[in-house]
Symmetry: C2
Subunit: 227 residues, 2 copies
DNA sequence: GTCTATAAGAGGATAGAC
DNA sequence: GTCTATCCTCTTATAGAC
């Protein structure tokens, strides 16, 4: 059931900063102009991230998150005024975690470096089923136009798409890649391949080595588009 | 909890019934051992298909479906004993609609014919956003292990995967495709590309010509794997 | 085959005490 | 900052009349 079990402890560290005494956290929080209770917030966020990933937005209840965070639902709503606000915070958190590894809006320049960076990202993701699932489940839900994450998802794809497209275009312009390559279509394809493989991998992890299949794809693609 | 089992082809035929007089339908139903009220059932199924596609399984209520089908929730539950049973019937319906166009478990033999058949399927799908969305939303939700459609989705991918893999393998064996092609990995990639492009297309239809991008991909792939 | 009525519960959100 | 208590709505499913 707990698909993201391994990921959780690591993510907690990234956000919470460990088992610091609450008083110290509070004091520093005030100095830096934060609201107090950062550790609490971080704990809630990490639990929410797991729950949204495991059951989707609609399938997750505030009560369940509150229970796991060891406070009441009303207490939770003190930190996040609504379920939707909590979701937004979780999505921001996920984006910032990605950014630590690889700034998707600023890929290495040139075709081959950019594509190899993506291979590294997929290899990284293959060790983080929880995070991948959060993304896959929410993006699927968000296809619905009135879903609270719809705008987030659309924006994310536009950003990612232009990022890859730009890197590829630079490759064609520098002569690294074939001049007749369509950078936009190619970029969309690469993103689609990442998402599609994630889906198959999550549904049936034993059936596929996601990172290996993606690497094979990129190798083939490079052989095809190199000048 | 078994979603992938029973009901299958019977439900499909019931739905195809259309605007036949109710009395005739009922009489034939009795002869063939169906429950009566086929037209009603079909109407419910088609509405449920729309609703599940628009809001996902969790986001859809029986009351809403009943309202659109012009009966009460209790009346609806006379035809389908539970929400899950209704979902199962909808999934069977969707599969049978696909089958009308292209039997995915029995693709044309050989690499190029099979891949070209998939291009035709994607072109067809690009004109059916509702059906594509049902699939995308439910598959995303179904990543969760305890989702009622989880087994259905996993089974569907296994089937589809072996189907494409088989066609490609025949291609390598007949000398049509390069001997060093990995049919399994390649098959998984093709499926992933279809799913990933669907996702981007649904989120932002104006941003992409799904069929064109997929065709480009397949052309490039063919150039790469042909012997 | 369809209805009304209702059980039995979970959902999100708010008010006010401490 | 967290609690209890409560509200109101929505959910799935069942019972029994017609």
């Amino acid at each position: 059931m707990d698909v993201s079990g391994t990921a959780s402890s690591e993510t907690a560290k990234q956000v919470a900063g460990g088992a610091e005494p609450a008083a110290a956290t509070r004091a520093r929080g005030r100095r830096q102009g934060y609201a107090t209770g950062d550790a609490r917030r971080a704990r809630i966020l990490n639990i929410a991230l797991q729950e949204f990933g495991e059951n989707g937005y609609r399938g997750t209840s505030l009560a369940r998150i509150a229970e796991r965070a060891e406070l009441t639902q009303a207490g939770l709503l003190h930190h996040f005024r609504s379920k939707q606000e909590l979701l937004t915070a979780v999505l921001d958190l996920r984006d910032s975690m990605d950014a630590e590894r690889l700034d998707l809006s600023n890929l290495p320049d040139g075709g081959e470096p950019a594509l190899r960076a993506l291979v590294a990202l997929v290899e990284h993701n293959a060790r983080k089923p929880g995070i991948v699932q959060l993304f896959t489940v929410l993006t699927g839900e968000a296809v619905t136009t009135d879903h609270p994450a719809h705008a987030w998802a659309r924006e994310r794809y536009r950003l990612l798409s232009t990022s890859i497209t730009t890197a590829l275009r630079h490759g064609t312009e520098s002569g690294e890649l074939r001049a007749d390559l369509d950078p936009e279509a190619c970029g969309r394809q690469v993103i689609a391949m990442m998402d599609g493989l994630q889906l198959q991998w999550l549904l049936d992890p034993e059936q596929m080595d996601m990172a290996a299949v993606f690497r094979t794809y990129i190798e083939g693609l490079l052989g095809q588009i190199r000048a």
